[in-house]
Amino acid sequence: MLRSTFKNLFSHPNTKRYPSVPADLPQGNRGRVEWDMKKCIWCMLCQKNCPTGAIKTDKAGKTQSVVRNRCITCGRCVEVCPTQTIFMRQQYSKPAMEPEIHIYGAEMMQWEYRVENLPILNHKKKV
């Protein structure tokens, strides 16, 4: 132990100095799911297969929304989507002061998000 202690002392620290250096995300990291809305055929498979109910597909309003704080990045939705509308980004979703819902609309260029009163927060009453 003595030897390694001295070795440590005089070697460069192992620390990755995040946030000064970017996060260490390996290739294929499951960061967060996103929608490429042009392709969606509104088959609802993603919503049905999501194990945590993070996805809400609004067929009428032509939006897909995902609650970031519900998604467990299992990649199931990516897998089941027949049109590869959904894809996984390497970058993980960021923390925020409130649980975030990201909404993807067919007409939107990029996702935009708004914070909504999450239905799940009142879940307790149902139980």
């Binding site: 620290p13 996060a23 260490d24 967060r32 519900r70 923390p95 009163n117 927060l121």
Partner: protein, 156 residues
């Protein structure tokens, strides 16, 4: 704020996020760079890192720990289950997120949340800390009472 001391409490998590918190303390992430130390004692803590959806049995314990932490304090809900309880959404014995028990300042998504995300959360939290410290100075009580048991959050 250059010296956030943390308290970590597991309220029914799966250990995933807990270990990511521990990983924070270790050489690769080493949050002691920011002065963060795991004090594991509410009396010393500034930031409560809470994991888990808050099971029924942990509820009272969590409240107590929260009460024992002196102001100003921050609560960071680490992971999906602490934020919304989602991974365990059909389980019957929990509160679906920390904010149903105590006020939460920052929600960290991810199951498990990455250590980097927790660092981000602390950085967000520190800004909020300043507000709270100022509020304390001017004696404006800022969320210092615990929310009643079943009141939904209305300030969303």
């Amino acid at each position: 704020m250059k010296s956030p001391w943390i308290l970590h409490f597991d309220t029914g998590s799966c250990n995933g996020c807990d270990l990511e918190i521990w990983a924070l303390l270790t050489p690769k992430y080493d949050v002691e760079r920011f002065g963060m130390v795991n004090k594991a004692n509410p009396k010393h803590a500034d930031i409560l890192l809470i994991t888990g959806p808050v099971t029924k049995k942990c509820e009272e314990r969590l409240r107590k720990l929260y009460e024992q932490t002196p102001e100003p304090k921050l609560v960071i809900a680490c992971g999906d289950c602490a934020s919304t309880g989602a991974p365990f959404m059909d389980c019957y014995n929990h509160n679906h997120g920390v904010n149903n028990v105590i006020p939460v300042d920052v929600f960290v998504p991810g199951c498990a949340c990455r250590p980097e995300a927790i660092i981000d959360a602390v950085i967000i939290g520190i800004n909020k800390w300043k507000e709270k410290a100022e509020a304390m100075e001017t004696n404006v009580s800022h969320e210092d009472k615990i929310m009643p048991d079943d009141s939904p959050r209305s300030d969303q």
